[in-house]
């Protein structure tokens, strides 16, 4: 209470008005002063309360920031005494430590709510403060016990608080990822925490139809937040020796009383991969939005599968996605293929399902080029039966009829390559004699029964008359000898209208553009010969009449 007085005295000297507006008019310097006093002298411990009230009541971001920093310093200072607090000690000390501990717990719980604050700076300082406390506590307990024990009492609520938060932005993510991704231990415990948090969350439970009623309150994990965090984890260790940066301390330095030779899981890649995989699987169990679904499928091949101990566990997810249809199927194909190719996954009726993917949407979706890249890969096998290839060829050609030039430009070289690899498909473009009927059935799901071999690729007729001359001439390769090397599909995959237009416009024009021929000396109307239902009057006739009238007058 003395300090209060003193402080008031000082205030009197400094600013008389500050008396009334104790909280609002407070400045950073004053907070720092309070903090210093508190740290220097145990008698001033009440300053904690004062700063805490300032923190709670202030709306000024800077003040909040300063108070958090101050409190962090104070608690860090007194943390050993808080942690060593023993109920059996003498009364006076016990009272003070008890009071300190309560305040500490209050502060932490208040900090957890501060993630909701909109200001990233505050979110970040909150995060840092919490991590600081976690570090201190864990270090303390670990040293005490001789092996690494993460303080989950603070860590899990922190992760939970973050994951529940909806209003986090990129700055915060970056700050968090900087912490998590650069420290191996933090990353490990974070992923572990994610798994527990997600598995306990309401949306997962609902999906599981869990009848157990948890005593915890139901909560929903923010899918976006979680996705943006775990998808950005990039520094997963590849080798045990790479695990060397620790935020808290290196568990190997601790010589625990249990003298087992088993390495701490934190120190092994396997352990990391385990938690990584668990976290992802937990995440994938969440009900995902379509864009996130697609994004996950896009990165699954490069960012997830390599770091999982057992990627086959993704099969459920991928199969579901593959059966989804449309764009998602196409994307799942990539992951599925990796699993089949590298992890010995057996997928029955793969080509039938692939054939089903050649649906009416195929040519119009964004991921078309990804898909065809894979298709090209699938068809490199020369052991495929020709009639299956023929079915694919015929279907592609049919789909190309209604596809944009960027689709046609993929299909034509692909068909060429396929025919080159499977010469028995050549009957589709060259058949001695004539077919009585076209046996191809567009709607047949099974490529074996499609009857493509008993058909001709008349579709190419239309493609060879495509309005875009480059495509039309590309279609002419089928009439030449099949002596060219199969095309590298990569050159054709990522074309769009814009690239076509750009290349057309940038073409060096040698001759000036040819103009139309005027049939009569009357300048024609641009509306001539348009559909009658546009309701244009016959401008041509009008003009002709006018001309006739003019000549008549002249005569």
């Amino acid at each position: 209470m003395e300090s209060n007085k003193r402080k008031r005295d000082e205030n009197d000297i400094g600013n008389a008005n500050a008396k009334e507006k104790k909280v609002e008019g407070i400045t950073k310097q004053q907070i720092r002063k309070l903090e210093k006093d508190c740290i220097n002298d145990k008698k001033n411990l009440n300053n904690i309360v004062e700063i805490f009230t300032i923190l709670k009541s202030s709306s000024d971001d800077e003040i909040i920031h300063t108070t958090i920093v101050s409190l962090k310093k104070i608690f860090s200072h007194y943390l050993p005494s808080i942690l060593t607090f023993d109920e059996k000690s003498n009364d006076k000390k016990k009272m003070v430590n008890q009071w300190l501990k309560d305040n500490y717990a209050n502060f932490i719980s208040y900090l957890l709510t501060l993630f909701e604050n909109d200001e990233p700076a505050i979110q970040i300082i909150t995060l840092k403060t919490l991590f600081e406390f976690i570090k201190h506590e864990t270090t303390f307990f670990s040293l005490q016990k001789g092996f690494l024990v993460i303080n989950n009492k603070i860590f899990i609520p922190t992760v939970k608080a973050i994951l529940l938060c909806q209003n986090l932005n990129k700055t915060f993510y970056d700050a968090l990822l900087e912490q998590i991704d650069s420290y191996d231990d933090l990353r490990y415990y974070f992923l572990k925490a994610v798994e527990t948090v997600v598995n306990n969350s309401a949306n997962v439970k609902k999906a599981k139809k869990n009848d157990e009623k948890s005593d915890e309150e139901a909560y929903n994990v923010s899918v976006n937040t979680l996705y943006s965090l775990i998808s950005e984890i990039q520094n997963m260790p590849m080798d045990d020796s790479q695990i060397e940066t620790f935020f808290i301390l290196n568990p190997a330095e601790l010589k625990g009383d249990s003298e087992e030779k088993v390495k701490h899981p934190l120190l092994t890649v396997k352990g990391h991969n385990q938690v990584f995989g668990d976290a992802w699987l937990a995440f994938l169990r969440l009900p995902l939005t379509v864009p996130i679904y697609k994004r996950v499928l896009l990165i699954i091949n490069k960012r997830i599968i390599p770091f999982m101990t057992n990627p086959v566990r993704l099969i459920d997810f991928l199969t579901d996605a593959y059966n989804e249809g449309g764009a998602i199927s196409l994307l799942a194909l990539n992951g599925l293929f990796t699993l089949m190719n590298e992890h010995n996954l057996d997928y029955p009726e793969f080509f039938t399902k692939l054939y089903a993917l050649f649906d009416n949407d195929l040519m119009h979706i964004k991921y078309r080029s990804r898909f065809f890249r894979l298709v090209d890969l699938f068809f490199t096998s020369s052991h495929m039966p020709a009639y299956i290839v023929a079915a694919f060829i015929k279907k592609m050609a049919r789909l190309a009829l209604y596809s944009p030039p960027s689709g046609v430009v993929i299909v034509i070289p692909l068909i060429y390559s396929l025919m080159k690899r499977h010469p028995s498909c050549m009957v589709m473009i060259h058949r001695e004699g004539n077919l009585k009927t076209d046996k191809f059935d567009m709607n047949e799901k099974d490529p074996l029964k499609s009857g493509a071999m008993e058909s001709s690729l008349w579709e190419l007729n239309a493609l060879r008359k495509h309005y875009f001359g480059d495509l039309a001439s590309l279609g002419d390769i089928f009439t030449s000898d099949f002596k060219k090397e199969p095309y590298d599909l990569e050159d054709f995959l990522d074309q769009t209208y814009s690239t076509f237009v750009e290349s057309e416009l940038n073409k060096k024009v040698k001759k000036s553009p040819a103009t139309a021929i005027m049939k009569s000396n009357i300048t024609p109307s641009i509306f001539t010969d348009y559909c009658s239902l546009w309701g244009f009057p016959d401008y041509e006739a009008e003009a002709a009449a006018a001309k006739a009238a003019a000549t008549a007058q002249k005569e």
Binding site: D359, N360, D361, R398, L401, Y402, S403, P404, P405, I429, H430, R431, G433, N443, S456, W458, N461, A462, K465, H466, Y467, F468, G469, D470, A472, T479, F482, Y497, S498, F500, V501, E504, L505, K507, V509, S512, P513, A514, T515, A516, I517, M518, N521, I522, T523, P524, S525, I526, F527, D529, C531, L533, W534, A543, A544, K547, A548, A550, Q553, K554
Partner: protein, 916 residues
Amino acid sequence: MVNQKKSNVSALKRLKTRLKSSGIIGENVSSKKKGFDKKELRKKTKEKLENLKKETNPFEIKFTKQKHDIMGRKIKGIQGKPGQARSKAEKTRKNTLLVEYEKRNKNSSFVDRRFGENDPTLSLEDKMMERFIREKQRKSNHGDFNLEDEQLTHFGQALGDHLGDDIVHSDDESDNGQIDQFTVHQDHFGGFDEEEEKSGEKKSKSEIMKELIAKSKYYKYERQKEKEENEEIKNEVDAELEDIKKLVNQSLTEKNEEEKEKLKIKRSKTDDQYNSFLKAVASDRRARPTDRLKSEEELAIEAKEKLERAERDRQRRMNGIDSDEEEENDSKNRPAQADDLDDGLDYNYDEEESMPLTYKDGKLINQDIGFSRKRKAKDDDDEEISDDDDENDDDDDDAEDEEDEGEEETDNDDILNEDDDKNENEDDNESGDDELEVIKKTNKQSLEQDENVKKEIEKRRKERHEQAKNELGYVFSIPESHSKFLELIKDKSIQDQMTIIKRIRILYNVKIHPQNKDKLTYFFGIILQHLNYLTNKSEVSFDEINRYTRCILSFAFQFIEYFNDYAKNKLIQIEKKITKKLSVNGKEIINLNDLIFLQLITVIYSTSDYSHPIITPALLIMENYLSQAIINNERDIVRGLYLCNIMYMTQKQSKRYIPEAMNFIMKTLLIIVPESYISKNTKADMLNSNILVNNTKYSLTGKDWENVELKALNLSLIMSNNTSKKEYIKYCKSNELRISIIGLCIELLEKYSRLYMDIGCLKEIFSGVEKLVSDLEKMPVSDKLKESINKFKSNINSYIAGEGIKRRSLQWQKRKPVAIASIVPKFEENYSVDKHYDKNRERAEYNKLKAQVQKEKKGALRELRKDNMFLARKRLQEIREKDREYKEKIKGIYGMLGNEQGEQNKYDRERKKRKN
């Protein structure tokens, strides 16, 4: 062998035998030739000797030894006579080079051109004889065409007699177009009546000439005299004109008749005929060279001047002054003169009287007549000017601008008719009264009429002023900016706007001034800007757009380079806009302005090209838009269909396949037609499921649509930029629009199906369409639409069936069987191992020529070298000669001096002796 035999005998003996064998020596020579002349004999022997000399001495022949002698091969240059060749060369050099060398310091040379001097075959006597003959001939003969001695005749008469007659008569033309008898007699063909002269003695030419001159002078004098007399008479008549006025006519006719009679008597019948023919010929217009076709430049300038003149008139009329048609007429009729008024603005023709006034008793009597006359003249002129304008129009190719001259004309006519009426009244008044009264009355009337007339003039002036104000200007300068252009065409009808543009184009015709090209292109830019303005206006008028696009078309063909750049930039602009807006799902991605522009370029450029620097990217841009085809409102549908139509127009000739257009049309149909009418099967069959949009916002709603008639789209309403208008909103939501859209889709599909009739996979392309159309058929719609759907369906079915019959399996790998490679070696006729052999004839010839050239060059060089050597030798000889002469001379001098000295010494010695 002969040589070998001979070689054993001595040279002297051989000479003897040869002389003998040639018959120069021996016994039989003299006896045989006894009868001949000695000279002849000598000559012959000389010849024989010469020939003998020519026969070569075997010692002079040189042989080159051959290593491999091949039988039957002829090689040049084995045998040579170097000595003979050298002496021959020396001789020719002496004759040519030496001569030149000796002449080197001489400027002139003497050429002996005497007859036979250079002919060695002639003997001296022959030469002399010939020369003598020639000299004689030269003296006796004056040339083949000596006119002095021989007389030229025509029909046996000497020609020279008539020479110079023309000169005499040329200066005095016959007065009244009649040719006097003398001339006829003398000059005209068929004349030559010279019996008198013939009968008398033949006169010399000079005499004839003199006579002629005298005669002509006489006639001239006669005529002058007559003229003077006439003058006198005329003066007399003038003096007492009043008295004989009545008699004038009579006397004149009498006189004429008398004269004619006289002439008649004089003339013989043949003359008459001849003269009449001649007259006819003379009066016949000679085929004059027609005016050459005017060059484009001249035409352009003419058109420009015409407009400028019209503008001057207009200005004048606007100021209330009469137009200067009179001036125009004048200037038309007479050639330009130095003092022609350039602008004619200061000159007021109103105040000028074109008709002489008649005065009586010092008072003007025919003032009104004068005015009426004048008015009539004006009347004509007005008509004329309108004619002119019409001509203007016709001159220009564009037919659109029939100005409202017609109206003007009628206005004028009205006024003029009134005038005429008045005049008639006045005339009536006049004619009805006696002369005296007339005079009295006119005194009063004239004052009144004066007033009237003045008022009338004022009125007309005002009217004209109004008229001119409303009338379009003729001369415009190119507006500096689009806003200026807007000012210019403000309140003008579209017709007038076109006229303005056309007039500007005439005034700034490129042919007139090279700078006009820049100006006109600038103006073109403004017009393009104006099109943008028109299409972005809240109220869109397609009539206006049509007019302006036409105008742009003709501009574009003129300044195609400018338009190329413009089109390219605009395309880039549109492309940027589309990609930007598509990426953010923006609204109003493409607007009417872009549509019209795209439409324009499809008309301007050749759309059937396989690849076209403008059309191809334009197509891609259109397809890009269509493939995304974000439909935010009804307008987007209409725009999309409009694009489909534009694309159809581009492929009308080349018939290429445009998938996106099909996609869009189908999509539209699926959107508009209520879902309940489309079977699931149809939807499943759509090759592009993107077009299946679950959006019922645009489908036909309510029940009344079954009765809505198919009508043409109200395009200007749906394209209007004023979307907040009630009318627009109502129309957008109406079923009428939707029915029209369905109709349009069907029409477009019909067009496209016809386009793709021969594409080879019509069935595949139209499989979805076919099903959709059979669904549509079940829709209860108004008869007209139903009819078109039915028609389309039957058409498409027949097309597909037709294709099914025609279609064969593809046979693209069919190749001609490749022939088995032949292993027979290729033989060549006339092959030779000769190194000069070349199969390629041309090359062989070329090489041959080359070798020849080289050979000749070498030869020439050798010759030149020898020439130089020869000359050097000559020079050395000369120098030696000179030295020798000099030496001799010096020697002589020394000798002389020695002698002298000897004499002196002798003398000295003598003296010494004497002294001693």
